[in-house]
Symmetry: C2
């Protein structure tokens, strides 16, 4: 691979970083100002909202529970950062946490009704930013 | 714009985030293991290395100086995070900082010879990760 091709790759990576940071920052500002949520809070709520009614994700007899490690992979946070974030969301009443009845070692999280309602309110804001930021 | 299109945009944003985080994490691991640099350190050194010999970036009679706010825009860090990072790089002898002789309020940074040499050593590692991670 030539040095020129390598430099093109470095530029593409720099562009990808710039794109990510610009959109992330715009989402954070808009969601925080209008709904008191960070972009990362929104991603957590979005995954948990999608899991409601998904009977594949089941803990005991209730649907909607998602394992912490699955959530961590989805939102690209370390375990400790995710744990702090879920604690914050739990205090705000937007999610709840429980130990799975089938596996006591497994901590799972579920969106609450208040969380679902806040997510549905915030979604148009997130989608509007994405329409502005990503070309279709 | 339809709800379906909006959901496609949300998926594209999720893919972009995933791509950014995967590459960023792989770069961090490789650069840290082989050169003791973070991906963000590398970006700072890359910009400063590129500024050497660029006479457009000039402070007093010397080329190679880059203003902190310009560096911050390039690496997408807040002013305080960038300041901490440059302090670390300065302690490691990889960059130096000075007040511009033409404008005492303006703090500028320049790569040192040690920093340039470390950057040139680390560059093939970064480029190899990008070749693996970004399709040409």
């Amino acid at each position: 691979m030539s040095e020129r091709t390598d430099d093109v790759l470095a530029e593409r990576w720099h562009d990808l970083m710039g794109r990510y940071h610009r959109i992330s920052c715009t989402l954070d500002r808009a969601l925080q100002a209008e709904h008191g949520l960070s972009a990362s809070d929104f991603e957590v709520l979005q995954l948990l909202f999608g899991a409601v009614g998904d009977t594949g994700r089941r803990c005991g007899s209730d649907a909607g529970w998602v394992q912490m490690h699955e959530l961590g992979q989805h939102v690209h946070l370390t375990q400790s950062a995710l744990s702090r974030q879920v604690t914050r969301l739990e205090k705000a009443g937007l999610v709840e946490r429980a130990t799975c009845v089938d596996d006591r070692r497994s901590v799972q999280t579920r969106i609450t009704q208040i969380g679902a309602s806040r997510f549905v309110q915030a979604r148009p804001t997130q989608r509007a930013v994405l329409r502005e930021s990503l070309s279709v």
